[in-house]
């Protein structure tokens, strides 16, 4: 792991077009500003991990899901009104 000491308004640059800058240093945490091209996903790790766990729980075999869907669809009549 690379370790840097950065002060307020200082930044690190990662590759081409990615910059992480220290915007504020407070008692509760450090506020960072990330500049990155739109094709680079930038996430808070713990939120990504929560979604990863939820996705893992939701994933199943297509056949099993089709069966579940048919059962749920019967429970949940189309409530659409025109």
């Amino acid at each position: 792991m690379l370790v840097f000491t950065r002060r307020l308004d200082e930044a690190i640059v990662i590759g081409e077009g990615i910059e992480v800058k220290v915007l504020r240093i407070g008692r509760e945490g450090v506020r960072l500003g990330v500049t990155a091209p739109p094709e680079v996903p930038v996430h808070r790790r713990e939120i990504y991990e929560q979604i990863r766990a939820a996705n893992t729980e939701a994933a199943a075999r297509a056949e099993a899901l089709a069966k579940l869907a048919s059962r749920l669809a019967k429970q949940k009549p189309d409530d659409e009104s025109d």
Partner: protein, 135 residues
């Protein structure tokens, strides 16, 4: 907002350039709809050991569900201005036969670019495990 009449399905492969959290190496999916399981959509991965998911338009669960895309996501989808995007929330089956819906991290697909992504935001208005109740 009026919900779509038909189960969400698109002809053609959808590319998820980042995969989905937990399944980053699977990037190609198809969306399968069927009158048998309307209003649900099957999101089926292509290839060996690819995952599949069940999904529903989040507006079927909450008609007020906001379907507004951030500018970064919009750029990554390559969506056209004013394009009607597909919104899908993943359904998780529970061992007791019930199911929950992930309204916090919906999937959005651009029908014009056939590209999709899952929204990862720190917005906590909606739950990762919203109960799916019979209407």
């Amino acid at each position: 907002m009026k919900t779509p009449r038909r189960p969400a399905a698109l002809d053609g492969e959808i590319e998820f350039p980042d995969g989905l959290p937990g399944f980053e190496s699977h990037q190609r999916f198809v969306l399968v709809g069927s009158p048998d399981f309307d209003p649900f959509t099957l999101i089926k991965g292509i290839g060996r050991n690819a995952p599949a998911f069940l999904a529903i338009d989040p507006r079927r669960i909450d008609p007020a569900f906001p379907t507004k895309l951030g500018s970064r996501e919009s750029l990554r989808l390559g969506a056209q201005a004013g394009e009607t995007l597909l919104w899908l929330a993943l359904v998780a089956p529970k061992p007791d036969g019930t199911a929950t819906v992930n309204l916090r991290a919906p999937i959005v697909v651009s029908p014009s670019t056939l590209r999709g992504l899952q929204i990862v935001s720190d917005e906590k208005v909606y739950r990762l495990d919203h109960p799916l109740k019979a209407a």
